[in-house]
């Protein structure tokens, strides 16, 4: 990761510019400022891991990236598009719901608590968005849905409801569901922290495979092993700012900032 200051903006070609670019992103809830100027850049194909103490704004930042939260100041681009706004003549115009939804299709999100649709089978969970949002033909969607289930190791669970699956299985279905929209970027918000320890491995394995296939990923996680093995970069957030960033090896082995040292000494 490199924190550069020149405005990459919309002029940069969508295929070669960074996948995510944040410039001085600020976010407040009421009077509480949660993000206090985040600058970072995620290259195409990069796996960025984000760590930091509870309440440091990791989830909030992920949610800003796919516009589940509106940012108050700064600029955020995904795949060359300004998130949530259109800039014209130096003025920002809010995007319509329909346009925001279109932007989100490029971004897959995996939640800590899975958030599968409990009234649908695993396969229906995966097929829902391609069918309803992209309006793709059913036969094709089903075929791909089954292939995705196979890919996450759950080919035999197509007809199971979420309540009939273990947490690890549910999370893998959730990953397959996000992948079904063929996103350019995947966001993971502590995907394994609601899981029993023996189920964590299966989910991380799926994520590693995804990384090897070249997916651009931003992963909030406490799995330092995963960060070290799979991550291309590691970002340490605290108090709503990026305190330290670099390759996982450097940050973990030689943390520069005392707050990073303190945090790592607790989680390692």
């Amino acid at each position: 990761m490199n924190v550069q200051k020149d405005p990459a903006g919309e002029r940069s070609s969508a295929d070669t510019g960074p996948m995510v670019k944040a410039e001085q992103v600020h976010k407040s809830f009421g009077r509480v400022e949660v993000l206090k100027g985040i600058d970072l850049e995620v290259r195409r194909g990069e796996v960025m891991c984000v760590i930091g103490p509870s309440g440091s704004g990791k989830s909030t930042f992920l949610r800003c990236i796919n516009h589940l939260e509106k940012i108050n100041a700064g600029r955020l681009w995904v795949n060359g598009h300004l998130v949530g706004y259109r800039e014209k003549g130096g003025k920002l115009y809010e995007l319509r719901d329909r346009e925001v939804a279109a932007q989100r299709r490029e971004i897959g999100m995996v939640f800590q608590r899975f958030n599968l649709f409990p009234h649908m089978t695993a396969l229906d969970n995966i097929m829902e968005a391609p069918l309803r949002v992209k309006r793709q033909p059913k036969a094709q969607v089903k075929e791909r849905g089954l292939a995705l289930l196979e890919r996450v190791g759950l080919a035999d669970k197509a007809q199971s409801y979420p309540a009939q699956l273990s947490g690890g299985q549910q999370q893998r279905v959730a990953i397959a569901r996000a992948l079904a929209m063929e996103p350019a970027l995947m966001l993971f918000d502590e995907p394994t922290s609601a899981l029993d320890p023996e189920l964590v491995g299966d989910v991380l394995e799926v994520m590693k495979q995804l990384a090897r296939d070249g997916m651009t990923m931003v992963v909030v996680t406490h799995e330092m092993g995963f960060a070290r093995e799979v991550g291309d970069s590691l970002v340490f957030m605290d108090g709503g700012v990026v305190v330290e960033a670099g390759t996982p090896r450097d940050v973990i082995a030689r943390p520069q900032h005392p707050r990073t040292q303190d945090f790592l000494s607790k989680v390692l």
Partner: protein
């Protein structure tokens, strides 16, 4: 708990204890049996019930017409009230304070006044609003109808029931929607689904588990509340029974006959409710059989 019949070696002998006697239960059962016997005796021997008279009218044309009217009023009122109730519920949860306020005032009025009184007003709607027109508010009208001709008694009865019931359905729907975890909406948004798609495909189906049971109760009340449209006045089952006994003076037989029809119809509704609840409970427990067992055993605890 089941006890294995094949005894393993070294396992202690199964307990065979003298069970506790419950004389109170036996006494209670005896009282109930005597009461049932007395009731059946009354049904068979009472002269006031006049079963042949009831039988004569049970499937007569006027009664069947009354039953038909009761049924369509119930169905129309509930469908209308559910649709309008969803709209009101969405208004109440809207971010727009004007919509929220309007829905609140609506609920305040329709829940704060008796249905019977509202239906009397519907009967006199012609004097409240002599004409109904399409046009620009406070400006010229393009076309005007006489309310008396546009809103006949059937429509007045249905509208009266719909508008009243919608106020109650709105609260049921709102409770249902609010029972759905916020993560569901977020997951749907993150997949690029629109608000309407999220509501229709994700939120409403899940809220059904909370919405269906009280709505079933509302439907069964509605079946009986249709008898209040006599205020309009519109002729349904009870009103038909009244019309018949006005000339035959067989009051009790006709009212009991009406009760038999209501009981038949509400029994059908209860069966429908059972299957609807089971359908919307899918995916909420680990297996379908587990769900059945809990329902029939009444709690799934010990036997």
């Amino acid at each position: 708990m089941t006890v294995d019949s094949d005894v393993e070696p070294g396992r202690p002998e199964a307990i065979k204890a003298v069970p506790v006697r419950h004389p109170g239960r036996w006494l209670g059962a005896a009282v109930i049996l005597v009461l049932i016997a007395m009731f059946v005796h009354f049904l068979v021997t009472s002269k006031a019930l006049e079963w042949p008279e009831q039988w004569k009218y049970l499937f007569s044309d006027p009664v069947l017409k009354g039953v038909r009217n009761t049924i369509w009023l119930t169905v129309a009122a509930m469908i209308g009230a559910i649709v309008f109730g969803i709209v009101l519920a969405l208004m109440r949860m809207s971010e727009n304070p004007l919509l929220r306020g309007a829905a609140f005032v609506y609920l305040w009025f329709f829940r704060g006044t008796p249905l019977y009184t509202q239906l009397l007003i519907w009967g006199a709607i012609g004097s409240l609003l002599p004409t109904i027109g399409v046009g620009i508010p406070f400006g010229p009208e393009f076309h005007t109808w006489k309310t008396q001709e546009l809103v006949n008694v059937a429509l007045a009865a249905a509208l009266g029931l719909i508008l009243n019931e919608a106020a109650y359905m709105a609260e049921i729907v709102r409770a249902g929607i609010q029972s759905v975890d916020e993560g569901q909406t977020e997951a749907a948004s993150a997949l690029g689904m629109s608000r309407l798609q999220t509501l229709r495909r994700i939120v409403l189906p899940q809220s059904m588990r909370v919405i269906v049971p009280p709505t079933g109760n509302e439907t069964i009340s509605m079946l009986k509340n249709t008898s209040l449209v006599v205020a309009v006045p519109y002729s349904e089952l009870t009103f038909t029974a009244q019309t018949i006994y006005a000339s035959t003076y067989k009051i009790i037989p006709m009212l009991v006959m009406a009760c038999l029809w209501y009981l038949l119809l509400s029994s059908i509704l209860m069966v429908g409710q059972f299957y609807l609840e089971r359908y919307y409970a899918r995916g909420t427990s680990r297996s379908a059989e587990a769900r059945q067992r809990i329902r029939f055993r009444g709690g799934g605890g010990g036997q």
